[in-house]
Symmetry: C2
Subunit: 133 residues, 2 copies
């Protein structure tokens, strides 16, 4: 039902990177400014990197920056990168996990709802989120 704290951290983090535009920033800065435990954030950034949302560079002068335009990153992208599909019930993600799914009349509700939620989240880009209004 809820996104995890980790996902919220990831969103804060990408929000910050979006505000920083092209600039490279280090984990420590994001952690302090966005109030995220530093080494936990480091893990989160690894996942965001693998998902192609941010890019990293190592060594002195290294750090993180967005891998794409904030217009091309949605809340859904972050959620899926960190938590996986946004289904409200397991059967909306994989209907085979439940032996009732073939006849269950509730099952389609979860499928519809998943679509609705995904549509909504896909529309919320970080472009929009940084233009506070």
């Amino acid at each position: 039902m809820q996104i995890t704290r980790q996902t919220d951290y990831a969103i804060r983090c990408v929000l910050y990177l979006s505000r920083m535009r092209e600039r490279v920033v280090v984990v420590d800065d994001i952690a302090v400014i966005m109030d995220i435990p530093k080494s936990f954030l480091a893990k989160i950034l690894q996942r965001l990197t693998k998902a192609g949302i941010v890019k990293s560079s190592r060594g002195i002068k290294g750090g993180f920056q967005l891998a794409k335009n904030p217009r091309q990153i949605s809340l859904l992208d972050i959620i899926e990168a960190i938590q996986g599909p946004a289904g409200m019930n397991r059967c909306a993600i994989n209907k085979d996990i439940c032996r009732f799914s073939k006849t269950c009349t509730v099952h389609p509700v979860w499928v519809e709802l998943r679509q609705k939620v995904e549509q909504h989240l896909k529309k919320v880009t970080f472009q929009k989120l940084i233009k506070l209004k």
Copy 2:
């Protein structure tokens, strides 16, 4: 993000009771037919009883039955009775838990989404769910 197994069990259970109309049924029957661990189900039924969704009677000839017309029970009712509010992020339920909420531009998204999801779930009554189609 997801409803818990317990909530799914609760829904199955109310679905079964809806099909049974006025009849009183015992925990064991629901457990077997709906494939729910019996003593876990007993707990769930307690919560549904406290929430006024089902009513219980003790002793021989005792058991459970719906406390209202299936038309008056929605999926949202069950979810709220078992899991609490259907917010996708903690701040959509209580904005004070996050020190950013006053200025955060993501916060309103969770609030809107919560409304949208609740609206959707409120419309799905057990009346509709038992009329398979």
